[in-house]
Subunit: 386 residues, 2 copies
Amino acid sequence: MTEVVIAGIGQTEVGEHWSIGLRELAFAAIQDAVKDSGGLKPQALFVGNMLAPNLSNQAHLGALIADYAGLTGIEAVTVEAAGASGGAALRQGYLALASGMVDVALVLGVEKFSDKIGPNVDEALATTSDSDFEAVQGMTTTAQAALLMRRYMHENHVPANGFAGFALTAHANGAGNPCAMFRKAIKPETYAKAEMVSDPINMFDMAPNADGAAALVLTRRELFPSNWQNPLVKIAGSASASDTLALHDRKDMLFFDTAEISAQKALKQAGLTLNEIDFFEYDDVFSIYAALQLEAVGFAIKGQGWRLAADGEIGLKGKIPCATMGGMKARGFAGGAAGVYQAVEAATQLRGQARANQIVGAKAGLIQSLGGPASTAVSHILQKLD
Amino acid sequence: MTEVVIAGIGQTEVGEHWSIGLRELAFAAIQDAVKDSGGLKPQALFVGNMLAPNLSNQAHLGALIADYAGLTGIEAVTVEAAGASGGAALRQGYLALASGMVDVALVLGVEKFSDKIGPNVDEALATTSDSDFEAVQGMTTTAQAALLMRRYMHENHVPANGFAGFALTAHANGAGNPCAMFRKAIKPETYAKAEMVSDPINMFDMAPNADGAAALVLTRRELFPSNWQNPLVKIAGSASASDTLALHDRKDMLFFDTAEISAQKALKQAGLTLNEIDFFEYDDVFSIYAALQLEAVGFAIKGQGWRLAADGEIGLKGKIPCATMGGMKARGFAGGAAGVYQAVEAATQLRGQARANQIVGAKAGLIQSLGGPASTAVSHILQKLD
């Protein structure tokens, strides 16, 4: 089997980039990633984007961004799977490399929420849920997550502030990430006093929508110079799974089937067990998603994922460090870029370049990108090459 | 090298499907394709769609359609490259098969223009062109094509009605396609009297936006039973290229670089010369595009593509039959489904199942799907397996 490696990584700060457009944002991340790869020449571009046709009136991002990045002529396409668009773009890039038809691929995630504001953003986000049966009833993605969280709390007897650990961990780790939107640890009382957005989801139980771009240069191991300056990181496992968009169509809405299926497939491909995973970049766009992912992947039994966070076990020195560079919560949720940020951050950990946030001795990490309430889940296992 | 084959094809009629939604339309084509494949079980779904986030307020089509089609759980993703979305989805499906990680893939193209009407459709289409530098000036995709056509006519001394051959051929062939939107041949005087849409583009120089879905089941040759009822069709070549979205950024706007690059790559992979291509499914969403594709691919010299049509050489018995089942013009332009319709029609020809429209002895066909004025071009060569 071909070994696909991450040869270059790049990212912009996550935040509100009012003064630059989608293509400039994309270019900044691409430029960094190509430079970091030692100047490899991409033959293909896979763009993960979620909402640009709505937020920026711009579709056809593949050709647009390839051209703007000085790569006119190369193969280029947009890949969309709601919030999992970044993970899905990585998956397509991986498949292209694995096919042997592409030698160097660029995987880009980019999103620009600040091109629109207020209700327009909620409307755009609602296109990622079931338009005919949920969105049309006024169900926003936040309201949907609130229903999930309320049910979870009821069934599992979670106390008020039981989810605080997710936000506390994310913000503590965000403090060490120069690209994070929020770089300040928060206190338990800050969480406890936070205003409600959609009860029981408070300001700290959801990630802020933000602008950002992240990029990866992928190649095959045999094509890469052996004297390269950075440790090489291999994509050891790659898998994706889908589920219903609407929650009412699920047998058990409190179990994320796709998170389980895709993680198990990726682990099997990598030949690793869960015990050999040193950190987990989950998709904490809502803290309830993070809890459900910990359970579906197998780090906690059903109904007990929240306890890992409450007990401090997801911190940098915990049993299973999560959101090691701040996660969606503190780094910011840059839509279709989110899954690519996860990969950039995981590669940073595996290269041993995470500074204050370094997981000592990290050899393998699992990243998981969700579209909606795990209607899509894309899992990748990144592994340090010796 | 792995041989990727088309094991099943399915399509709906192209037209205005007011009474059914996007997911129902998609399901109809999927059902036909899976049945035609003898009931193969898809492990992955690649959805080519162009405008559903705008026209139908629905993104995240991969998971949505997988679920509606009874395939909940499989890998599923949306692929977008404007009008080339269908071709791009086929390319991603091909790469997945070629990687060896997927054994059976479903490639779906689907579009539902009738979810919105009038100016909303033009606005949605404008998102596929350069929003910041062209669309914002009021440039629609039709206006852009009209500028191209006017310049082409001026430089190459094309007489009034010089493009009639494209529409006449398309409508003549549409008459033999039970899924075509227009199934009636037209006369030269009908073309000559047609109303202008955007001078010099008249009603017959552009394809009608329409609803439709088309699907393919792909697998690898060795996985397919040798006693299968239909002749197997192989994907012998697959390539994609990108160019600027805005016409003003091109060195020569009257040459479609991407059409040349992607066709040459696909031919090289297939080990075929242009002489061995028995028919060409171009992207005649505007007749000027068809003329420029004939030139870029090499069937005509620069400036003379229109003459092939005028001289009857693109007819079913001409030198290079084009739009053999009616093309975008008469079959109808179903957006992100268009490129998949091309593949379904080419497979029909190569299986020898095209009835009145059959190209006798057809062994290989080139299909080319464009996004914008060839800002993206995706080329595939389909070949009959002996």
